[in-house]
């Protein structure tokens, strides 16, 4: 196989991974906000929440989205090194904040953006010690 298609496939799967994991979490968040804050942790109350969770459309879309993420991740790991995939996927922590801001209308302060950037840089460093995947 020539280097070019693999190169493209790697980027496409990385993008799919980052996008669908962030979207999945945002959809789960939208669903849980629709269900409302869980305050009562008694078994009966949790059973009611459980039913609400699994009859909520956003939650199911979120789970579907996370499944797409997971399949992309597994496929990618079948040829790319974890030490390459993991730092590259750090950008997802920023994307989730961006989606939270635009899709859910969350207020993201300057402090929070700074924190998110620190986390992205930190995660990239943790995994980026030896990127070996040739492409």
């Amino acid at each position: 196989m020539s280097a070019r298609p693999l190169h493209k496939k790697t980027y496409a799967l990385l993008a799919s991974m980052v996008f669908f994991s962030s979207l999945g979490n945002v959809l789960l968040s939208r669903g849980m906000k629709q269900i409302g804050e869980i305050r009562d942790f008694s078994p009966a109350a949790l059973a009611t929440v459980f039913v609400k969770v699994f009859t909520n459309g956003s939650i199911w879309l979120g789970i579907l989205s996370l499944l797409v993420f997971f399949v992309s991740y597994l496929l990618l790991l079948s040829w790319a090194d974890f030490s390459y995939v993991q730092p590259a996927s750090a950008i997802g922590y920023a994307l989730v904040a961006v989606l939270g801001y635009f899709v859910l209308g969350e207020f993201v302060s300057m402090t929070r953006w700074t924190g998110v950037l620190f986390i992205c840089a930190g995660v990239a460093l943790v995994g980026g010690t030896e990127p070996r995947t040739g492409f």
Binding site: E37, R112, T114
Partner: protein, 122 residues
């Protein structure tokens, strides 16, 4: 405080779940060749392994704690805070598995901690 408690459950549940599932899969051995029939047989064996069910239970605890968190907290706080799993990973590698952790890795861990501290006060 509630935020800290639930983030801790999400991070520790997820990490412990990964370790348990990984342990189960190591008991089963490498999946080879990667054919549907082989994968089906391995899956059949995986679900008869105790560690697999422990892993699944731990991951379920992590997932439902994440849902509970998202019922009141912003996703732009919760998901970045789950990056603490890298901190747990490095500490586990150093103090439980007695592995060498490279200085660059510690620098990353420090950055993640600083970032989480910043978002937790925002």
């Amino acid at each position: 405080m509630r935020l800290v408690l639930f983030i801790a459950i999400v991070v520790l549940g997820g990490t412990a779940g990964d370790i348990a599932v990984s342990h189960a899969m190591k008991q089963i051995g490498e999946v080879h060749p990667l054919r549907p029939s082989v994968i089906a047989r391995v899956l059949g064996r995986a679900f008869r392994t105790g560690w697999m069910w422990i892993g699944i239970a731990l991951m379920a605890v992590g997932f439902f704690s994440l849902l509970a968190l998202l019922s009141w907290a912003d996703v732009s706080v919760v998901v970045p805070a789950t990056a603490l799993s890298y901190v747990a990973g490095a500490l586990g590698a150093k103090f439980l598995l007695h592995e060498e952790v490279a200085p660059v890795r510690w620098a990353g861990v420090l950055l993640v901690c600083l970032g989480v501290a910043l978002i937790s006060v925002s």
